[in-house]
């Protein structure tokens, strides 16, 4: 009998809102966050659209009481979302239980590193950013801000499945009894590094991304941070906690096909979904809604779609990608979509897959395109990344 992994707090900041409430309102009112880029001066600004968090660094710093240019934007977003999650979970003494922190990121402090790459050698006022490049830095900053001491903290970077993997590890650590409580999620800001990187792969759309559409042109990069508080049954009982939902299942597998692309038939994705269902002890018909990875690249949506058809034996439940709202927020995608999945369970809604017009030729899958009320018990969320990394999480109303 597996232990229940309760979700007791959530925090998120993204292009469609600065907290959980704002994000939810945007999702149910078709309010998208995709715009021209405004915070980064890039030569590609007329060729791409992005999902930016609206606040500037100065505004985020003011919110956190920091002096200007203190931290990478990744850390700013991370701490804001993590603090919301802690407050939402009603945690007053962070060190009261065996508490851990697991964060996913791909860029870390790359925004500052690229800004000061040469200036470091001329201006010592920039030196506090030198050690901010490594991916663990934003995690340690969250831990410090939350007052965590002598605790388990770690950082995962598996490209676009990073935060999903952070959630999976957190759930496993509670299940194994190593931790009583764990803050899991991820943070990634936009940077020239990722904009230009994805540009070289020629998978950036110059307009609004259109997941699972036959004429999809690629993804919109986004930025966000999202964290969830996971607690053991024992902590929930002892503290009489309100439970928002449960992490019911998880699976990670590797496509072992190509450095960046997914296999044509989604082998890794099939393995990850099957593994998650097995851990949860559920059959495919228990899944009420799939929050798909759905990045709107030609490769992902084909591979993921085929994988869904394979796993669900053609009977794919309602599915949608929320990337049309937020853009693809890389490491964080799995965490914000975990928050969205829990909100879907709480409110019994399926979010629309926006911008969809033409069904894909390769299969007859139609995403849910209108907001739909439906009694939900189990939501499946996919996150796939470079290096063939495929992760599936299952969220449920009941333990």
């Amino acid at each position: 009998m597996g232990k229940g992994i309760a979700i007791t707090g959530m925090g998120v900041i993204s292009a469609i809102g600065n907290n959980v409430e704002e994000n939810y309102r945007s999702l149910v009112s078709n309010t998208i966050g995709i715009t021209k880029i405004s915070h980064i001066d890039t030569v590609h600004k007329n060729d791409i659209m992005v999902g930016e968090v609206s606040a500037t660094n100065s505004e985020l710093e003011a919110q956190l009481g920091l002096s200007p240019d203190s931290w990478s934007r990744t850390s700013l977003l991370a701490v804001i979302a993590a603090k919301e999650a802690i407050a939402n979970a009603g945690i007053e003494d962070i060190n009261a239980f065996k508490t851990g922190l697991i964060s996913g990121t791909t860029v870390g402090g790359m925004d500052k590193s690229e800004q000061y790459f040469y200036e470091y050698f001329e201006n010592d006022k920039t030196w506090h950013h030198i050690n901010g490049l490594h991916a663990g830095d934003s995690t340690q900053k969250i831990a410090t801000e939350l007052g965590m001491e002598a605790s388990f903290t770690t950082t995962i970077s598996t490209a676009c499945s990073s935060a999903a993997n952070a959630i999976m590890l957190g759930a496993r650590m509670i299940k194994s009894g190593r931790l009583d409580r764990v803050i899991v999620g991820g943070a990634d800001c936009l940077s020239k590094f990722t904009i230009n990187g994805f540009k070289t792969l020629m998978i950036l759309s110059d307009t609004y991304n259109t997941p699972f559409d036959d004429d999809r042109k690629g993804l919109n990069l986004g930025e966000s941070a999202a964290y969830l508080v996971l607690e053991s049954d024992a902590v929930v009982a002892k503290e009489n906690k309100k439970v928002l939902g449960y992490v019911k299942g998880y699976g990670n597998a590797n496509d072992a096909f190509h450095q960046t692309a997914s296999s044509d038939h989604g082998d890794g994705a099939v393995l990850a979904m099957k593994q998650a269902l097995k851990v949860a002890g559920l059959s495919t018909d228990a899944v009420d809604y799939i929050n798909a990875h759905g990045t709107a690249t030609p490769n992902n949506d084909l591979s993921e779609g085929r994988a869904m058809v394979r796993v669900f034996d053609g009977k794919v439940p309602e599915f949608s990608s929320t990337k049309a709202f937020t853009g693809h927020t890389l490491a964080t995608a799995g965490a914000i979509e975990a928050v969205y999945s829990v909100l879907a369970l709480q409110n019994n809604v399926i979010y629309p897959n926006l911008n969809f017009k033409t069904p894909m030729q390769e299969f007859d899958l139609l995403p849910q395109t209108e907001l739909k009320q439906k009694e939900l018990q189990v939501v499946l969320s996919n996150s796939f990344g470079f290096g063939g990394n495929c992760t599936t999480l299952l969220f449920s109303k009941q333990a």
């Binding site: 070289t200 960046t260 692309a261």
Partner: protein, 85 residues
Amino acid sequence: MTDLKLELKEKIIEQLNLEDVSITEIGDNDPLFGEGLGLDSIDALELIVMLDKDYGIKLADPKEGKKIFESVETMATYITSKKAN
């Protein structure tokens, strides 16, 4: 045209880090991808940048590369036709 093909072979070897391949081993009509030289989709992206940087030819859709990069011969023909325009 022959000079261009030679130049392309040199560039392919350099750009794609094909240390153990010499110019003479790449025939004009040898397939570059799959069975032939064994290039893959990442190499195709590298070649697209080479077209842009060295010959001023921009490809908007990576799928266009498929025909163009079939062989050194097809690349040279494509570049020559673009330049003539």
